[in-house]
């Protein structure tokens, strides 16, 4: 599946930062990979040096600080991020929305780019703070369906990744 407007139909835009934190990214092609490599390497370096892992809120603060520093440099990174994770101590789930201007917001659900316009209204209506994983996956399916139906871009399906306790499992959604 390759052509004038689609370079790759199976591009995974997620990264594992440590055993309980995951990052998804979008933005300028080169910047996304460069920036997420840098973040991934530094978060992992911290784990090795200190024999302890940063929690999701610490990771989010670190990523924001790096992006904010880049924002006022000669050529800033043009990267939008979603950071998700389970705090290893409190076992509480966290989700952070971070845009290319380095605005960090803790949110119950989030999207970036055009998907925001289609998905956030669905999530506003159907999300509750106490939903389980199965219901969460149903919501993601509803969002993917809505994007397929209404967004004038073929986004080639989606992947979803989950954390059960400390482990990350990969599984694909409606990839075409």
């Amino acid at each position: 599946m390759r052509g004038a407007t689609i370079l790759k139909a199976t591009d995974n835009k997620t990264r594992d930062l440590n055993s309980h934190t995951l990052m998804a990214f979008s933005g300028e092609a080169g910047d996304t990979i460069q920036f997420s490599d840098y973040i991934e390497a530094n978060v992992k370096l911290y784990s090795m040096r200190n024999s302890t892992e940063l929690g999701p809120s610490a990771v989010a603060s670190f990523v924001r600080a790096e992006l904010a520093r880049s924002l006022r440099s000669r050529n800033p990174y043009n990267v939008n991020l979603l950071l998700g994770g389970v705090d290893p101590i409190s076992q509480k789930p966290h989700l952070y929305w971070l845009d290319y201007l380095a605005s960090l917001a803790p949110v119950p659900y989030a999207a970036h780019g055009y998907a925001q316009y289609y998905c956030l209204s669905i999530l506003d209506k159907h999300h509750h703070p106490d939903i389980d994983l199965e219901k969460g996956m149903q919501l993601l399916q509803m969002c993917a369906d809505e994007l397929k139906r209404r967004m004038p871009i073929d986004f080639k399906g989606a992947i979803a990744r989950e954390s059960r306790g400390q482990e990350w499992h990969t599984f694909s959604g409606s990839r075409q």
Binding site: R72, L101, A102, S103
Partner: protein, 198 residues
């Protein structure tokens, strides 16, 4: 992105902000406080570009922590105002896009203090109220109508809350709940106003 405001009363000050974080017309979060505490009775409200709100609030946390270690005392609102002013003017030709508001009570004199700034640190001292943010025009209206001298703490809470909620109802880019701080001598009360969620 919406607005903090602060008003002065009899031996008390109030500072309040809404909770919306948005990108133009799209609301991203409805739990994004814009008031930050830098001592037992010193508060800073920040409006403007969200990323600069966070950068500037972090910068002042760093600076005020160092001040406290060096001086072995808490910062007064007047000193905080001068710190904000000089820090913003350092970036005169590439400013942080924020409009800060300082509110607090001076420990030594017991006098309430409020002031506001433009993005390059020009201080606007006031004896009544300071407003900032997207609904600044509306807030001037509601504050002019509701504020009166020597409000007691409870009346101050009612006044600032009604002024803020009425103002953000007339601004599509603000609202989604509010935080209100009432600062009295040796006592701070923080309240969450749920507000309209549409």
């Amino acid at each position: 992105m919406a607005n903090p405001m602060s008003i002065i009363g009899k031996n008390a000050v109030a500072i309040a902000c809404d909770l919306r974080l948005g990108l133009q017309a799209l609301t991203v979060s409805n739990d994004f406080p814009k008031i930050f505490q830098y001592g037992p009775d010193v508060f800073l409200g920040l409006t403007g570009l969200a990323t600069d709100v966070q950068t500037v609030s972090d910068l002042f946390r760093y600076k005020v922590n160092l001040y406290r270690l060096r001086e072995e005392r808490d910062i007064s609102p007047q000193t905080m105002a001068n710190l904000v002013s000089t820090s913003l003017y350092e970036k005169r030709f590439g400013p942080f896009f924020v409009n800060p508001v300082v509110a607090g009570i001076n420990r030594t004199t017991g006098e309430p203090f409020i002031c506001g700034f433009d993005s390059i640190g020009c201080i606007d001292f006031a004896k009544d109220f300071i407003v900032s943010g997207t609904s600044a025009d509306q807030l001037f209206g509601t504050c002019e109508a509701l504020w009166q001298p020597d409000l007691e703490a409870e009346d101050l809470f009612e006044t600032i809350s009604q002024a803020l909620l009425s103002a953000v109802d007339r601004d599509a880019l603000a609202g989604w709940g509010a935080h209100v701080y009432i600062v009295e001598k040796d006592k701070v009360t923080k309240r969450l106003l749920k507000g309209r969620q549409d």
